[in-house]
């Protein structure tokens, strides 16, 4: 499975989401590749992505997609991340 984390530059807040998502996925025993990207990389990376983790500002940028878009409020709250990932991955 592929999960994208999206932010403005692809190296800041998406990096936080990436490390914390990897931590949560390990906890849940789920194998996935997590890729931190900026909006310019969205089109090329979106095809085979199942989940996109991002902040509320980027939802409109993502637009229509088959991937589950998960909006994170507190990037450092791994409990929030785990809850939302579990819900999306069912």
């Amino acid at each position: 499975m592929k999960i994208l984390t999206l932010c403005g530059a692809g190296i800041g807040t998406s990096g936080i989401l990436k490390v914390n998502a990897e931590r949560v996925l390990q906890r849940l025993g789920i194998e996935a590749r997590v890729v931190a990207i900026d909006a310019s990389m969205l089109e090329s990376e979106l095809d085979d992505a199942q989940v996109i983790l991002t902040g509320p500002e980027f939802v409109d940028t993502i637009g229509k997609t088959f991937a589950d878009v998960i909006v994170i409020e507190n990037y450092f709250d791994t409990a929030e991340l785990q809850r939302k990932l579990e819900l999306a991955l069912g």
């Binding site: 530059a9 190296i11 936080i16 409020e73 507190n74 990037y75 450092f76």
Partner: protein, 152 residues
């Protein structure tokens, strides 16, 4: 959980405590000035950080009370750098969940790969902890350094 990390040093010049900022822009510029004062970046990096927020919105407010100001690596970045500004009066950034901001952490990475490593280190500090609160109330640069686990 005060521990040594791989983060760059945080000299006194890079710490501004109980600062007064008119608005979010002012707060980010203060942090940018602190980064430049430490020698990590040129003065222009502050403008780059402000532009990121103008362009993409207040997404840098990653947790309640904490803004992680940053811009892309580029000619304004001399080396990895970190700056901390705490605000005497919290300032709204326009974030739907995490306003108002009490602590601005400004980050510069010499490369994209390095920047990603640094945010991972920062995540380790702020995950599941009251670090923002403790930094907001720190009274000396030493206290901030102890919370972040960095050298002067």
């Amino acid at each position: 959980m005060d521990q040594e990390t791989d983060l760059p040093a945080l000299p006194d010049e890079a710490v501004v405590l109980a600062a007064r900022a008119r608005d979010w822009r002012d707060a980010v510029e203060l942090a940018g000035r602190a980064l430049a004062a430490s020698g990590a970046t040129d003065a222009g990096y502050a403008t780059d950080m402000v532009r990121m927020i103008e362009k993409h919105g207040p997404y840098v407010v990653v947790a309640p009370g904490l803004a992680l100001a940053h811009a892309r690596p580029g000619s304004a970045v001399r080396r990895d750098g970190l700056a901390i500004v705490t605000l005497a009066e919290p300032v709204p950034f326009g974030h739907p969940y995490n306003d108002p901001v009490r602590v601005v952490l400004a980050l510069a990475g010499a490369s994209s790969a390095r920047h990603l490593q640094l945010v991972a280190e920062i995540a380790n500090i702020f995950n599941d902890s009251d670090a923002v609160e403790r930094i907001a109330e720190a009274e000396t640069p030493d206290a901030v350094r102890a919370i972040l686990g960095v050298a002067a």
